[in-house]
């Protein structure tokens, strides 16, 4: 034993040896994968010597404001260029951001419009370039270079987003970076459209572009371009949008050079740095005005998009002094072969949207607004997944994480006298839209989605209803597009579009903004299909606020074995304009009518078959018995709610023919309902005695912590667990295998398997 210890001691390397070993390892790294040092950090880089010197030389606040506005205008100009010229549907409706980054890679100033989640995510690939390519003799960073990137494990949300990144030099010295990012859609994944829910490993997710050089002397390198085009379903789109992003960056570069010529490099560098430092300091000041408190909430995902199950997003938000800490420990373990995992930077990006879009929209857009806020997660969890886990449907986890944050933040803001927006119930958070792909009526191979994902219903606020189909939670200034324009390029029609879905409500003193119905049917292609990628067909993905209710659930309905275009020509009186009527009345003879959860994998559709979904409602605010009776009647008149539901829930009494309100009877009905509430409810202590259970129910596949104990994570059943800090694989069976096993068991029970050999 002693001899072994001595032998080991003799082999302990000296400091010089260690340096040599480190140099050897640095020189012979076999693979430059995503760097945890970069990917786990969302704070600003330390102030550099150049920034320090620039700030000493140039610090007049008025001049800085003037230069910041100039750079901001340049970013907005670049944004407009991408939106107007981009080929991707995402570009057209504003799923874009442009920005100027410091020489160290921090996003200092971003375009005012577009998808602000990018503001917290594109700095990672730039930092990767700085760390690995800047001094690499085989790559280098020179004037005229441009870098491309899409692999979310190196930064960004999901692989459907592509960035073009340009270094900006002044007199031979790197002074900053500019970048443009677009949701491009198609990326050559296992399913068309760029967000495959069928992906069971990162290898199913299409293009995996770590940051690399694709532009030299401001020209796109044709050989690399051809490789990228050859890897996706829309080669022309790939080329066009790379050019559009490059030219948007060049326009911003032009505006920066104008500033450099008039004010000099110190002015630019100082403006970028002080903008970030000042925003960061202001965020800490604003947080300090909130009450010191811990708020707990959770949001439930009801599927992995492949199967229904219960997936917990657990959130504890603690504010102490000027520190704000999001603790997501206790959330579900990562799924080894399901695509709903997210890298932690994606979660942080969406949490930044809570603040940039809904709490402090007055702050300059950039990375600094979320920089001082802390985030804690379990390793290998659904909100901080590993390199080996697929994440092409990370939206499911970053959006439910966003809602947990939005719900918790509202409880801090109510009592705070200093407000920059009104207290807000959660906005709807799922991308209820159709993703599509195939060969168009023009013979083009396409893969993308309808912009209706941007029509999420807004949550109610403290003194008014939520707005219908207002905006996506990741961009307050986006568009739902013109469907008629879209139909010139794709071989299907939205036969019903933008009609509010009656009774799909989120009640409250102020109700949530409602969602609208979409019915699509393929018309001019025999090679065309759809997919949907949302949760919330069994459990609402929201919570209500202060006594208000969340939204209901939103399934997918299909009518197959029919050509509705023939019906519209020959028997138009049979067509109906709501899901409710079509599914309940079944007006098309011989057709099949079915319902499904919203995780439909890509499915080829035949001409005239109906696929029907609805956008969702934002959450309600306050006790519904306090809702003004006149507003209840208005909702009936506007087709948001049926008379029966209105009367039953809101206890408003009115004449069924004229809708005239009987105020006295309403007051009486509401007083009686308050008494009835007291009569049917139980004291808390008595209630929890029979309600609380020590483990998740056995009839549900449950993932995440149970109650407050975040040290144990359940992995599909009450007896399948892991320690939160000890990762384990978490495989799901193929849903078809599950179904086959169920059917075989039934056959076996009936003795119908016969003598089949096993």
């Amino acid at each position: 034993m002693n001899q072994m210890s001595n032998a080991r001691a003799l082999k302990t390397p000296s400091a010089a040896d260690m340096e040599l070993i480190k140099k050897f390892l640095d020189d012979t790294t076999l693979f430059l994968g995503p760097d945890p040092e970069i990917m786990q950090n969302h704070d600003l880089m330390p102030r550099s010597r150049d920034e320090d010197a620039a700030i000493t030389a140039f610090n007049d606040v008025h001049s800085i404001a003037k230069i910041r506005d100039r750079i901001q205008s340049g970013c907005d100009e670049g944004y407009e260029m991408v939106e107007q010229m981009g080929a991707a549907p995402g570009a057209k409706w504003g799923d874009v951001i442009t920005g100027v980054y410091s020489a160290s890679g921090d996003l200092a100033i971003a375009s005012a419009g577009g998808v602000l989640i990018f503001s917290a995510l594109v700095h990672h690939p730039i930092k990767f370039i700085i760390k690995n390519w800047l001094n690499d003799p085989t790559v280098g960073v020179r004037e005229g270079d441009g870098f491309i990137h899409n692999d979310s494990r190196y930064g960004n949300v999901h692989n459907t987003d592509q960035s073009m990144i340009l270094p900006i030099f002044h007199e031979g010295k790197l002074v900053c970076w500019v970048a443009s990012t677009v949701h491009e859609g198609e990326n050559g994944a296992i399913e068309p459209g760029g967000m495959p829910s069928m992906a069971e490993s990162p290898s199913d997710e299409g293009l995996k572009m770590s940051p690399f050089k694709v532009v030299e002397n401001y020209q796109i390198k044709r050989d690399i371009l051809t490789f990228l085009q050859n890897s996706v379903r829309e080669p022309k789109l790939q080329y066009e949008d790379m050019k559009v992003k490059l030219f948007a960056c060049l326009r911003i570069k032009q505006r920066i050079e104008e500033t450099l010529n008039t004010d000099g490099p110190e002015a630019l560098i100082s403006t970028l740095r002080l903008t970030m430092e000042n925003v960061r300091a202001e965020v800490k000041r604003r947080v300090s005005e909130w009450p010191d408190m811990t708020v707990r909430t959770y949001i439930i995902q009801d599927s992995t998009l492949r199967e229904n199950c219960v997936v917990k997003i657990n959130c504890k938000l603690t504010k102490t002094g000027d520190r704000l800490i999001f603790d997501f420990r206790g959330s579900s373990p990562e799924f080894t072969n399901r695509a709903t995992n997210t890298i932690v930077a994606g979660l942080k990006g969406m949490l930044a949207q809570v603040f940039l879009c809904y709490v402090w929209p007055d702050l300059p857009r950039g990375q600094a607004a979320f920089a001082p806020i802390e985030v804690i997660t379990d390793p290998h969890s659904i909100v901080n997944c590993s390199y080996d886990a697929p994440n092409s449907q990370s939206l499911m986890s970053i959006f439910t994480g966003f809602t947990a944050g939005q719900h918790a933040v509202a409880k801090f803001l109510y009592s705070c006298p200093e407000k920059f927006t009104k207290v807000h119930a959660p906005t709807f958070n799922m991308i209820n839209t159709f993703i599509w792909g195939g060969v168009s009526q023009h013979g083009e191979t396409l893969g993308n989605l309808c912009a209706d994902l941007n029509g999420m219903g807004a949550g109610a606020v403290v003194d008014r209803d939520g707005e219908h189909a207002l905006a996506p939670i990741f961009a307050t200034m986006a568009d739902i597009g013109e469907q008629e324009l879209n139909e010139e390029e794709v071989p299907f029609l939205q036969l019903v579009s933008k009609k509010m879905t009656r009774d799909a409500i989120a009640p409250g003193k102020y109700r949530g903004g409602q969602g609208y119905t979409m019915m699509v049917a393929t018309k001019d292609s025999s090679q065309w299909g759809f997919m949907t990628t949302c949760q919330g067909a069994k459990i609402p993905p929201l919570q209500g606020l202060f006594g208000g209710y969340a939204c209901g659930c939103y399934p997918l309905s299909k009518v197959q074995g029919v050509d509705v275009y023939d019906i519209l020509i020959n028997e138009p009186e049979k067509f109906r304009h709501s899901i409710e009527e079509i599914m309940n009345e079944r007006p098309f003879d011989g057709a099949s009518y079915t319902t499904h959860h919203m995780g439909m994998g890509f499915e080829i559709s035949r001409r005239g078959e109906l696929f029907m979904i609805s956008q969702g409602a934002g959450a309600g605010y306050g006790d519904l018995l306090e809702r003004e009776p006149a507003n209840v009647i208005k909702d009936i008149e506007e087709g948001l709610m049926s008379s029966e539901v209105a009367e039953r829930l809101y206890k408003v009494k009115f004449d069924s023919a004229t809708l005239a309100i009987n105020f006295e009877a309403t007051a009486q009905a509401r007083a009686e309902e308050r008494k009835a509430r007291i009569a049917r409810s139980k004291p808390y202590a008595e209630f929890i005695k029979e309600w609380n259970k020590p483990k998740p129910p056995s009839h549900l596949q449950y993932f995440g912590c149970w109650g407050d104990d975040v040290s144990i994570l359940y992995m599909g059943g009450p007896d399948v667990i892991r320690d939160a800090d000890k990762p384990k694989p978490n495989y799901m069976q193929h849903p078809k295998d599950v179904r086959i096993a169920e059917l075989e068991a039934r056959l076996a029970n009936l003795g119908a398997l016969g003598d089949e050999k096993q």
């Binding site: 009450p291 408190m293 707990r296 219960v310 009104k422 067909a537 609402p540 659930c553 308050r674």
Partner: protein
Amino acid sequence: MKVPMTEYLRIDLETENWECRVCNHVVGSAKGNYKEGLLVHNRDPREIHPPIIDPDKYRFTFSPDPEWVRILEYCCPSCGTQVETEYAIPGHPPLFDMEVNLPALKAQWEARGKESEPYAGPAVTTAIGHNH
């Protein structure tokens, strides 16, 4: 001094209690979970989110599945105002959703020096624009 913490609850900093803002009922100690002083009802979610398509014909109907999720409705035992809702997995212990650091809250409001009415936040107004 009384601090409005939610639409329906406030904390009396002197007595250190949660109170109902509608009927002034004392709900319970502000050191603890306000839910402990309220009444709870286990609501079938189909009653609030009605099926839009026929539940006898279809698996998914626009209603939440009552075996997968319930709505816990919390009301004031004195006036019946619905103070909070919680969409909960069956059997999941209710959350201690607002755990207030009372000494810090007292110090914060002492420094502010005056009681404030709840402030809704800034309204969005139409810009008048430039004119002569």
